[in-house]
Amino acid sequence: MVFGPIPDREYHEGFMRKAIEMAEMALSSDETPVGCVFVHAGEVIGRGINGTNASLNGTRHAEFVALAEIMAEHPSSILRETDLYVTVEPCIMCASALRQYGIRAVYFGCLNDRFGGCGGVMTVHSDPAVDAPYPVYGGLFREEAIMLLRKFYVQENAKAPDPKPKKNRELKTEILPISTPNVATPGGSTPTIEKGRPALPILEKAALVAKAQLKQ
């Protein structure tokens, strides 16, 4: 289970705390509040926040920014002994990139029900593919990760082609418990009703609240 028990949870929370700090930094600089750290042998070797605004490149996600820092000093093969801690589940793009680079494991805060690639929308980390799958563990500081996102999404995105006025938005603080009936087991098969097909979207209730706000 993506939200199953995490062995040695406190150890991992320590690194997730660092990822949350990165996300907070991103929020204060108007970037999507997603933060991450890559950890090798108990040491942070790369940190990242979204770089979309600075690069005008929609693919410059936190994971990639951190990878750039890592690869400045290490060969990409180091990733096979490296774990990622990211506040929001990696998107489909990042999930695939991480798999191609051979990441060892991914720990995340909350699901990404818009384009998550590790259980939120698809299960790129574990689907049958040419590269080896990797395990994912979700739910570390989930509430904080969600609140950071909500704080961001009540703001307006003036760069969008058709900016939506969001003056009436209010920040909701209620976070509902996890309900993920169809979530994948790491390295296992696709969690679909019909086997072999990519998963239907998993509607995490908490994310639904944020979504409902978006539609207002």
Partner: protein, 584 residues
Amino acid sequence: MGLSQPDTTTAAPPTGGTRKRRMLHLKTKEECRLGNETIQVWTVELPSKHAEGILKVIKEQIEGQDNIDLQHLRRFAKPKYLPQHVIGKRDLVKEMYAVPRGWESTPPTVIQASSASWEWSSGSARKRGADRSLTLYLLVCPSNVIQLRGLHDLMLQYPPFCSSADSWAYPLEIKEVTVPRLAPTSPEQADQWSDEYWPTFYRKTNPFGAHPTSIGKAEADLEDPISDNVSVSAMMELAEQAGTATEKLGYGISTGCVIVERADDQTEIIAVAGDARGKSLPSEGGSDDANIDTSFEDAGDKKTGGAFAKKTARKKRKKKEQQIAKLAEVNACTSGNVMCHAVMRAIGMVGRKRLRVASQPISTRAAKAESGFYAAGLQRDEKARDAFFLDLPVTPLEQQYFTRDNLKPDGYLCLKLEIFLTHEPCMMCSMALVHSRVGRVIFKHRMPQTGGLTAERVRNDSGPVGLGYGLCWRKELNWQFMCWEYTAFKYASGSARQYTDGKTSAAGHVARRTGATAGVQGKAMDRNGKAYYGGENDDEDDDAKDDADDHPKHTTTTATATSSAAPGDENANSRMHSLAHVHV
């Protein structure tokens, strides 16, 4: 819709060979599973006057009852419009309960005299028209949303299913029925489904993909471009040249990407990029290569001239080849720097160009975001970053298009741009295209084992054709774009199933073995061999090979052959991986 063009069984060969390939619009995920996909739902019969009340209960109490879009089905259906198997046997007891009773509307203040004739109703209700159904069938929700027991208990709490002071409980009977999962695509289909399953609506749209008229317009734009505009064949050739260029330098495999902006019906080539996954990172001893400008200048040895320059260029190239070989050893999957797939590089170049042509407010904001990075204490080694993302040109060809300030200022990411690719992109690149809000994507070769755009998994005549992700058009994601395979004329024209010519097939097979399967890394190192992809493929052999590429069966068979190669072949095939296994 892909093969829906008129089946020109007699006119399959292109006239005079002028047009070997055509655009074939990809089926979307939902179009692929259209067939007759069904879903189980709960349904319950109830007196019409309680219909709204019970629906309200369902909407409020059953979580996820509308998670699956069943808007194409009537929520309430009159029994007379339902197929017989849904209604089942006539139930006289139920009918009796369905009749409105006089005392329900008028509270019984008088005990009926034993002598008086019994009345079922006040009478007025009946006169409201014979057509008015006494009961309706309500589509409750998909049956996987709530257990039968739970639904049963819930219904029993509310009228008409609970007994109350002024009403007897209406007999609760919950049935599970089968209904179409997706909306119909024609009125005929809607009628048929209404007869077979449940009353079904047809709405005049294509809910599963782009509207046919937009697809037609795009195909006209690209296959018969107006003067000065680019054509799909020319752009595909450019993409191939881009791939060949980086491959020749030993930077990567021969895959390429071209990005075009079409504004006011005029086209501009915005970015051209080849794959450069093998270009060494600073951490891999490639820091001297970080100076991008020099590395491609001495590669274009004809211009630089001079035997010495050539010699050093060759030396340098040899060194790079060794680095790639080393890289291949280090990375078991030989994936190299994944970030340097052609699509990622080209998207990065567009961002770079946007920064360059941005108006004051936009560039100020970007600069502010950039300074936020410093403030955040993130390491700022720009050279290393550029070497990792490689979103700057590395060949003269890329440079030529990168330097032009031809992008409309202040656009959003790659919104509505056109993307031309030699190969179907991997999942990462496919999703990068979604994130970048691209408009149209055209690729030449399918990648059945790694591609992320194709929704089809299997084709009857050729076996596996893709992983089935169909990222170009997924409702779950927040962006969809039109996508075409630029395929041999015979497939696009709908006569693909006639492809049984053994000779051609065998030729294709052989060409495929000697060419494409020779492997990516291997090709990058093989200086003597010719470029198997790209360039002008005008001779017959290449034709056969191209056809083989379109026929994924060969890809699959040869891929298996390669991976199970005898030890004796190992020398020739060491570190050589079939392109079929490569993320492009």
